[in-house]
Symmetry: C2
Subunit: 321 residues, 2 copies
Amino acid sequence: MHQLIGKMFAPAFSNKLLNQQHDGAAIDLGNGTKIAFTTDSFVVSPLFFPGGNIGTLAVNGTVNDLAMCGAKPLYLSAGFIIEEGLPMETLWQVVHSMSEATETAGVQLVTGDTKVVDRGKGDGIYINTAGIGLIDSDRAISPTQIQPGDKILINGDLGRHGMAIMAVREGLEFETEIKSDCAPLVDPVFALLDAGIEVHCLRDLTRGGLATTLVEIAESINTHLHISEAAVPVREDVRGACEILGFDPFYVANEGRFMAFVPPDDAGRAIEILRQFPDGDQAAIIGDVTEKSGTVVTMKSQIGATRILDMLSGEQLPRIC
Amino acid sequence: MHQLIGKMFAPAFSNKLLNQQHDGAAIDLGNGTKIAFTTDSFVVSPLFFPGGNIGTLAVNGTVNDLAMCGAKPLYLSAGFIIEEGLPMETLWQVVHSMSEATETAGVQLVTGDTKVVDRGKGDGIYINTAGIGLIDSDRAISPTQIQPGDKILINGDLGRHGMAIMAVREGLEFETEIKSDCAPLVDPVFALLDAGIEVHCLRDLTRGGLATTLVEIAESINTHLHISEAAVPVREDVRGACEILGFDPFYVANEGRFMAFVPPDDAGRAIEILRQFPDGDQAAIIGDVTEKSGTVVTMKSQIGATRILDMLSGEQLPRIC
């Protein structure tokens, strides 16, 4: 996918805004109005999982991409591709969840479209959402703002969304049910910004998880990032599920987790703020941006060795969102 | 579909912007900046047809929805849902066509997303586009602006897109190849506006064609519209194809055709302007808005009788866009 985007889509549509390579495009409309614009399609299978469904994902996924641009999410579009024969009850549950999710995230769904495809030419329902958010005009949050010395923070434990999906797919039952962390990230992001934390970059840890996201950022700014394995919080049940199924939690998708790059002086205060949010008690400083150039991410492992983190090649978990 | 939207989506997401029931939402961002925001998913089958492909449709469909709001289309997002096994060559042709279509329409594709679904769970490729356009702040173009006495104009002959698709599906060959009318409508729309034509409402004649669109508008403003069958241009080859296949050209989808509601004094000048555009030589005044209230559309037939036009029930042509 990374190659497909780099070799086909990026050259075909090359323009200054697309080339930002961020979770969304930041667009200056003039008159002091700056917006972020983003889109995502959702094809998760199964449609329903502990902690959410394709509808909650479709709202929060786009809301969070906007928040990662430092934009206040305001307006969403929704495009439904429905397979002939989908029970109305299923569609209604998804739509109802989307409606609740828009209220929770403080956004309005303002325009939509519905298409029906023949039986066997879809998989129940696919949803695309696009979103518009307003950016405070003096705020620049993007990989290019990252400075050597910045601390890398995450807002909680990793791997729950991916493992919630896998548990359903594989029919596994654990002692405690693993629920997706799917949630809107607007409040924690704006709590950081409103507290005057100098946030340089934000990125949510969705497809490919923490490790892939770190490598993408390191590549895009040609800078060395270093993290400590011991500092990254992973719940015991998630770690156990990963071991049973042969996954690495660092590569598992999350839907309510993000990374923030902040100056070292702000890091402690930022963690205090992040810990005040639901599910945020394990927010942690996991690493830093070094002085070295070169696109590489290293991790000090639990036993003290240092190894290179690679991007996920192939899909560890297809159709996770 | 009309019922699904009315009974499920509209109540679930009810808000002032969604309730505009136009081709897109008009949003005031403050500071004198007003945008239009719209989305469409494209599931056309086959992916390629005379005059275009799913990629050109995906760009022009959303560009035209923005133009119908009187907005200057500027930015697009694209979400691709690709079936595993789609030949790269096919994807490249679609992406290349989209790139060309964005240049022709004067828009930039600024953000995108790609998902891959398992073989058999898609149908080659589905594309969603969402778009943002800028609205001149003093311009109100919507069904509520329609006045009794307004003339109803169309910018050319009807039925080509639908018949181009059907000819490919049915393997029919006519003496002349029927090509889709798929085209961006930005230039003719802005030619009307820039010439000072008092445009009250615009609507493109896509799914459901002219008749369904007229009924939707009449219903939304509780007003009687009257058209003359003889005034509506349909090419002979399109009429012939419709007869062979049992379609009514008034219900066949178009992708480069729109309706404009203008005051009677502006109608003649508007037609002159529309006729200057490629494929616009058959632009015509086809009817008017009467003084009567009541949601009904009537048509004076070729033989002089008056009959009521109904909305298309069921899909005459599924997966036409």
